[in-house]
Symmetry: D2
Subunit: 359 residues, 4 copies
């Protein structure tokens, strides 16, 4: 079988590098183009500051970086593009490609909240992918898939099985986020030695609002947002990769809950990506650790090749008539929270087509 | 006036060093003895691995470390001892000194929750110091004062004015604690580079329980604990000094609150230590910063010479009929949370005596 | 072919973990036993604090840790042991196993400088392995192989091709060593945030003296040490894995040297492990990077699966009649400098036997 | 006595902040103006990201930042300006002020190597200040004083007494430099967690060349450079403040040297700034520590208020007929290596005038 010819948009940044890394040896996707701005015309191997573990895949080294224009990409036979573009330029470029018939799976924030754009977090809301049926109304020949903000992707994967099993009244979350989330040059070193920063711009809004769409229900081809009450405080800590989140959840069903039951609910969680055996789906989306000192970013971020989240410190508090659950959760921000989620989104889309669920 | 001759117990550790540093140039206390175990017999300047900013005060350098025995200390005219002893040995040594007539102001955890031992956090509960009246019943000739756990000291100073102004229904806190809280050699470096640890042993119990006593009311010479509902998750991050805490508070009074009113309540908070102009009391116990990226440990931990806490990211959430307040707070764990709090506790005790409030 | 049954001695420490990781899927070695002291009797998966990237190989998880006694190991059919024992206990345990017929390839320092013990750094001195012929005189039924100190392994691999091509008069080296070199709990976190330590105990002696043996010539079955003049200063920096060394070399041959010639000499260096295609040998033992900001520990330490060293910042200084070469070199301290080197040492030994070069 | 009215040019950066901090309470200098580009018109307290220990001096908080123009500064009565300007803009601004009669003491690199510009490192070459006599020939009404590159300032202070006592044939130095040397936003955090960078642009040239001028002799009103042979490798490590340098020196006089004699030569070193009791001069310019694990940046950088250097790990190697000295030295890069050095330069200039040595 011929592989699908794909481009990575913004391939020199940290998320772009993850796309290249994760698509190495993909069973049916082949990267044939990489786009960049200042670097257009250079060999990828020379233009990139490769800063992730392991070497640049050898096939990527000699790709000549091009500009993200439909003609240029189509000349290479590109049908599919993964976008790691910065928000400031993503909208125009992505829409232009989609108009010209390219399928774009994008990590960039613009259009994430649009009603006809699926905001896909693999296991959690794969069925939202059918929203693409509406996109033809925009006059698009291609389709646009979005994956969520990194912290939101990790959080909603954790919340989904709890929501289904127990219902959720309220979530209060504090994140301890990795430096790579700010990009290769986004955060000065002076801020991250013997220090932390108690604020990340726009992050709290995204967590609190994207979650509503992701956890929403598909009804008559539209998403009904879930009015889940999430409050978040986002901080930056001196960690390279891996976002940690301390989560307090007020459960909705006020009958007694057993912690073993919660562990089982989380550990046994599987969904469409596992059932359909999608290439980028982790075997276990949620791994529960019982040691009190886990999860830890350096030790746990690559669980499930970076596509699983790791959950620890589970505890139930019965207070008055309220039931609260506490957890510390961890996920890889540039894999589960970015490049990996976008690839999984495309794999879902393709599977739905293969199954005849999308026209 | 002759100064009060004091000893520092366990003077070579991180908290011991802070006692030496903070007592340099104290108006009425003079350190004349330092105790240690393995180091007894050595000059302090040689025995200590001085690891805090600035030099060892020159008077301390030549003090010969002694064992913490009443006879030895009394020969030096010691009336007062500040204890930075590890929990494992503190109980016996401190009680032995108190029995022999020495006043001990201690940072060690044993006996903190005893009904006749004041657990003093300066501004918050100075009036609890009168509990010492009960200590004679133990046959003690001296008195024993305790200061709270570091995270608890910082948290309760923040909670006190809010409790008084608005009432508090519930507190959910996540701490990001500094390495120095684990002592000079308590935490391996392998854990603190590109990593964090989501757990600190015993810390959550202390926060949730010591707070009840500290915020409790003195009634007929006894403390009635406040049944405040605090849930905490404690983590360790790669920061040398300065504990950060992300705090969510459900306020009790469900009328609309104005954030400016909260700012004012916190900023204007003063108490007995300020009114009595105690030497170690900070001018402003609570400093509110309005920049979104503050407080930061490296920049803010020395505010008020390490005795103030710095508060930022204040936000009120009106959700349904509930009012929640969010804040990020920061305090110096070995000053406000340890040595400074113990010195302030003694200053309160002395002032109460001078004012005739304790016999 | 049945695999050789092997034990890892001291398998829970950082070097022990690397042995387990590197021996996963080895073509002809199979780990069937792991020894430990305090942990004997426990499952490896529970006893170990697995702190290296990736998961514990599943076969290792269920191995029950035993004590390092010959009878116990022989009952498991163990013929070969890789030692990650601490120096303080290694001597007795290793010799006891060797006396009882087990082949021990050891990373521990005792006996490294003995004339009949090969101190093997793969490519550099594979021929020294024939020293094992002398070991029968000790009444040993097994054999003992040693690999060098971590910094020395990295340095001598770099020096060897230069020595052969140009001769070396003098070496002045400054190391910037990773935390993992001190073991999992060897270095307090307080020392490694906003700080470095300009001293590592015993390290400088090892670099200056082990190099003489490793670079020595085999002559009539004995090693004649090379009287190479190496001066070293060793420092510890906040890096998890990967030792960096800044090296100044006074070359012996005073004719003009061309930097391209040096690059070529280093880049093209291959030796017996490459020629014999040994499983743990890196394809390129020395990788030269031309970017001015390389090598960097986080980006380069896993080159060649951690068995290559990466060299950068090459520069020749012609001063008066002296020729000096400057380089910054980097190698993975627990792979190239420890577990990987020991495995490669055994592979050399086995190949020499297969080739009939050792009886 | 009225104080001299001074400006700080580029006062919001890291070196600018140090100027403000160090000039707080200066006996005869008073800061009345602060300049900036983007921040002109703002209050200093609002425009600055104050990132050094302690608070902004209260007098500085309300200064309105102005543009660095002669008229503007003269209106404020400014006679003296300390420059923390970036190299890219320093030349024009500084020369313009000097032409207009202002005395500029500058940390910026342009013009450092000009024959009529003193490149002053306090104790080392205070007598070079008389070069200012030549500056009138440029048509300047003011004078321009420069201080050296940070690493060079620390190194030459260490070399000077050794040069005088023993002569120096060759110096090979490896630096481990702090992040603050790259400015507040100069270095991305991704580079400085679990990593180091083996290269700092232009730094090696400065060390190797500025040293020749600084250590040069004044002869007939001109500097004769010392043809000292220095080779350097500069690296960046995850430390906030404090440059560490590992120095190997080949001494010129080949008679036996005693390490105690070296210690004494360094420890007893004093010069004009100490004799003249200049306000910013440290009591002991060079502090020798005998503990093997010192100097350490976090513990030693503030020695002598950041104006002393701390020296450790002294060792003499007698090899063949050569004598080499090894040392690890540490100095505060933004104090001794920048703002403090510039202030001391001005204090020397003023003292020379007061003593009638400059017209």
């Amino acid at each position: 079988m011929d592989k699908i010819r794909a481009a990575v948009l913004g391939g020199t940044g940290l998320v772009g590098q993850r796309f290249i890394q994760l698509l190495d040896n993909h069973p049916y996707i082949e990267v044939v183009a990489i786009t960049g701005f200042n670097s257009a015309g250079s060999r990828y191997g020379e233009a990139v500051s490769w800063t992730i573990e392991g070497d640049i895949p050898s096939w990527a080294t000699d790709i000549i970086i091009t500009r993200p224009e439909p003609d240029v990409l189509k000349k290479e036979g590109v049908e599919l593009a993964f976008s790691a573009l910065p928000s400031s330029v993503a909208l125009d470029i992505e829409v232009n490609l989609v108009k010209n018939g390219i399928i774009v799976a994008s990590n960039a924030s613009p259009l994430r909240m649009e009603p006809d754009i699926p905001l896909l977090n693999g296991e959690v809301n794969h069925d939202h992918v059918v929203l693409v049926r509406e996109q033809a109304k925009r006059g698009w020949k291609g389709v646009l898939l979005k994956n969520p903000n990194c912290s939101t992707a990790i959080l909603t994967l954790f919340l989904k099985p709890l929501l289904d099993a127990y219902g959720i009244d309220k979530v209060l979350v504090t994140t301890l986020q990795a430096i790579s989330g700010a990009g290769l040059r986004g955060l000065p070193a002076m801020f991250m030695v013997d220090n932390l920063i108690p604020y990340i711009a726009k992050e709290e809004w995204k967590i609190e609002n994207e979650s509503k769409k992701i956890l929403g229900k598909l009804n008559n081809g539209k998403i009904e947002n879930l009015e889940i009450d999430i409050t978040s405080t986002t901080t930056r800590v001196p960690v390279i990769d891996g976002h940690t989140e301390v989560v307090y959840i007020k459960l909705a069903n006020n009958h007694d809950h057993d912690i073993d039951d919660v562990v089982d609910t989380l550990s046994s969680y599987k969904s469409f990506p596992q059932e359909a055996n999608l290439p980028t789906a982790p075997e276990a989306p949620i791994i529960v650790r019982k040691e009190e000192d886990r999860p830890q970013p350096r030790l746990d971020r690559l669980a499930g090749n970076g596509m699983s989240i790791v959950v620890g410190r589970l505890k139930i508090y019965n207070k008055n008539s309220d039931i609260w659950l506490r957890a510390v959760i961890l996920g890889h921000n540039t894999i589960r929270g970015a490049a990996g989620a976008a690839i999984l989104a495309y794999e879902i889309y393709k599977k739905y087509i293969d199954m005849g669920l999308i026209g």
